[in-house]
Point group: C2
Chain length 483, copies 2
């Protein structure tokens, strides 16, 4: 490698937005966790025998089994010669044929339209209609490479292509899922943080939204509000009243609503329910039902957890036709989302019906996954709240807990001494001593002076008990050490 | 839908970069072609019975059959229960097991690292090493969601996040593949067009590169040169000497080289051969072998044509370590490319070997595809050159012909009268009269005052003969009409 002077790209010439971008879910702690895995493999002695990757909502990585119906449909789509075998139920064959019939040349190796295969867009629209009780138009459904891709495509429309105080402003919850802050950095846009109320189940307070946008207005052009429901990393589930207030606020402030609803199947708390922004906005009637809204969904979460297929979609409503044409034009250069991911989305929104050969197995597998998640959500909430120096809102939905940790002054000083945020310092210590890999709250942003970490609730129940026991021991030792 | 005033997004507020972005391969003619298909289906009488989509390099859509080995491996990766069946050869099972063993939880439903699965990165590196005779480091290989995704990720690194004359400049060939101009528009970067020499097989002339960059310098910061070899849309294959000249030019001008080599398997002309930029740069030795280079490859072209899987990769060499760390950080927020697409890439770079149970069928299928493409490349070159008012360089590689059409003055006037470029006017007429869907040369940019269109060479031989006959009739009628 030559001297720095000879390189086109140095830290001085690299896109400064890339330099600034952070994505904590795969940040330094995760990189260290991967190193530790290699060290263990190489026989290096550690105080633990394996690394627990609780940093990322990666269901199958932590032992969740794929849903048979989904994988059987995918096997046939990939290798249609099997359509003649008697290894597969008839409804699986029918589904694979339906998808293949919509593929050019009957092959999932051909491109689909950029918005996805028509039959799948239709199935998504039917799913949304049945979920909400309001019609959904297939031509408003855009399939994508995971929800992230759809989110970034819609955010791109909202940019101003200007700098300084003319930058597009995106209201984002704090704590937030770092895809949003990463995209805002990459685009040179302006983040408008609004704080969720930890003391009231991470609810969303309109006065706080108003404070937040008022402070940001001199610095940007506020264009959109991001709401994540069920919450990541918070595990909260918004009430309908809360959603109504947010919609009314967005209307007053003329904001595009970006509703991240990828955890809509993951609801655990007694009395909690998922209400979509689409439904709530339709119920409110005019003028709210004419507001621009993008709702995002993923094949990676829910009961299926098929992260690796990169399936997702957006329903984007109330765009002006000429804006929609530009939206679809802008995604056309990406050609299309992977057809396998689209097929998984289809299986998720159009599941086997009672009487179908696959129905019983499907429903058993689905309910088993969701029941276990519910059990783990309760277990983790209860355990965190039983430990000194930790408080944790109920994991009402999604797949994460975001406990608050009360760190001794000495620990905060020790963190400062090594140039880390106190919660990074804590999470690094947790990783090195127990092998448990979490993400520091600072990666999601958090209220000044508070410290958190995010952990998934995904490990199998027995393993999770053990993890929590190890965690408790670590935590109490940590408190004692820095008392 | 409310009045324009109530919308957050109007043509006035929409990201102006999105407004400007064009991607002709899926532009207005293709939208019209899809309408025509619907009209035909609905029984509307047309002068043709079906639409021939010669606008896009979508192999399976035009009848190419998938390679059995690839699809068998994919079936097993998707549904590992089949690993116990005797329907699959042992080498297919071994390959699927190898991929699954590298997946977290042994499931392609889990995320891989953002750069892709390690075993596949290793297989890619081995393929490159064997191709070039120079070592390739797996940690420099980045798997991606099709080549497009990898190209955009590297281009992102090179942006300046500044406007006006401080924008990043990207040298792009004219004619070019419109992904580049679309990305440049989206990023608000500056295109630096250099013209390929149509009179000399679309070769690349260093004097032209020098003219091009000199003219652009006052308007941008030139950061990179894009070279597409084999050429899209030109069908040209660069000689090694030509590649050497480009590398030396890039060195003098301190440019990052973006080598789009997705058609590296598609070489047809007598005496033509594919030379990679990596190999040529290594052969040149110091200081050239220390230059920053990204080479892009895809699972969508070649003999496999698996577009719908969205598999691709980049080999990116000679980055400073701190720049590489930022590169990998910047793609981490995308989580990972689809595992199915990664698995297809693996099958493409690590094919069955002589003696393997799948070898004979694999090699027969592969050679059949490539032999037919070669036959069609010759057929189309010969036919275009036999028609009055058309000249076409030999389709030496890739999957397209880019014939020049000499249009009568009256046709040019008629186009102006309806506000179209002359070649759009021509391609629309071709579509309406024959059902043949091509892309006007203006979509790829072309030298002022020249007119072209791009057509793929993909339809099956017999169909292609018929298409070319219909084309010839149309063309001669068109000339007669506007004489």
């Amino acid at each position: 490698m030559g001297s720095i002077d000879e390189h086109v790209l140095t830290l001085g010439t690299l896109n400064p937005n890339v330099l600034e971008l952070q994505y904590a879910v795969r940040g330094p702690i995760v990189i260290r966790a991967t190193e530790l895995e290699k060290e263990l493999k190489a026989g290096v002695k550690k105080p633990f025998t394996r690394v627990v990757k609780a940093n990322i909502g990666d269901c199958h990585a932590t032992g969740q089994k794929p849903i048979t119906f989904i994988r059987q449909v995918l096997a046939l789509c990939n290798y249609p010669d099997l359509l003649d075998s008697d290894l597969f139920p008839e409804d699986v064959k029918a589904r694979a044929r339906r998808i293949l019939d919509d593929c050019k040349g009957n092959s999932i190796g051909s491109y689909s339209d950029s918005c996805g295969l028509q039959v799948i867009r239709e199935d998504v629209a039917r799913y949304i209609s049945e979920r909400d009780g309001y019609p959904s138009d297939p031509s408003h459904v855009v399939l994508s490479t995971g929800a992230s891709d759809a989110i970034k495509s819609v955010m791109t429309l909202l940019l101003t292509a200007k700098g300084g105080n003319d930058r597009a402003g995106f209201m984002i919850p704090i704590p937030q899922y770092p895809l949003y802050s990463a995209a805002i950095s990459e685009y040179g846009a302006y983040p408008i943080p609004y704080y969720l109320n930890e003391k009231n189940k991470w609810s969303l307070d309109v006065a706080e939204l108003e404070r937040s946008i008022a402070e940001a207005r001199p610095h940007c052009q506020p264009r959109a509000i991001v709401v994540i429901n069920p919450g990541n990393p918070t595990g909260s589930v918004l009430t309908k009243e809360n959603i109504q207030e947010i919609i009314k606020f967005a209307k007053r402030e003329k904001l595009f609503i970006l509703a991240d609803e990828v955890y809509q199947h993951n609801i655990y708390a007694e009395g909690a329910a998922f209400f979509s922004f689409k439904q709530t906005l339709m119920e409110l009637g005019s003028p709210y039902d004419q507001m621009e809204l993008a709702s995002f969904m993923s094949a990676s979460k829910g009961f299926m957890g098929e992260c690796g297929y990169r399936g997702g979609y957006a329903e984007v409503i109330n765009l002006l036709p000429e804006v929609r044409a530009n939206y679809y034009k802008s995604i056309s250069a990406k050609l299309c989302p992977p057809i396998s991911g689209q097929a998984v989305v289809d299986c998720v929104v159009n599941t086997p019906k009672p009487g179908d050969p696959s129905y019983e197995l499907f429903i058993r597998e689905k309910e088993d996954v969701l029941a276990k998640l519910k059990e783990k959500a309760a277990l983790i909430t209860q355990l965190f709240n039983s430990i000194e120096g930790i408080s944790c809102n109920e994991v009402a939905g999604a797949m994460y807990a975001f406990p608050r940790i009360y760190l001794p002054e000495k620990a905060i000083k020790a963190a400062e001494a090594v140039g880390q945020t106190p919660d990074s310092f804590y999470c690094f210590a947790l990783l090195e001593e127990t092998g448990i890999c979490t993400v520091p709250g600072s990666g999601f942003r958090e209220e000044e002076g508070t410290f958190h970490f995010r952990t998934t609730i995904l490990p199998p129940v027995e393993e999770l008990r053990e993890v929590l026991t190890n965690f408790k021991t670590f935590h109490l030792n940590f408190l004692a050490k820095y008392k």
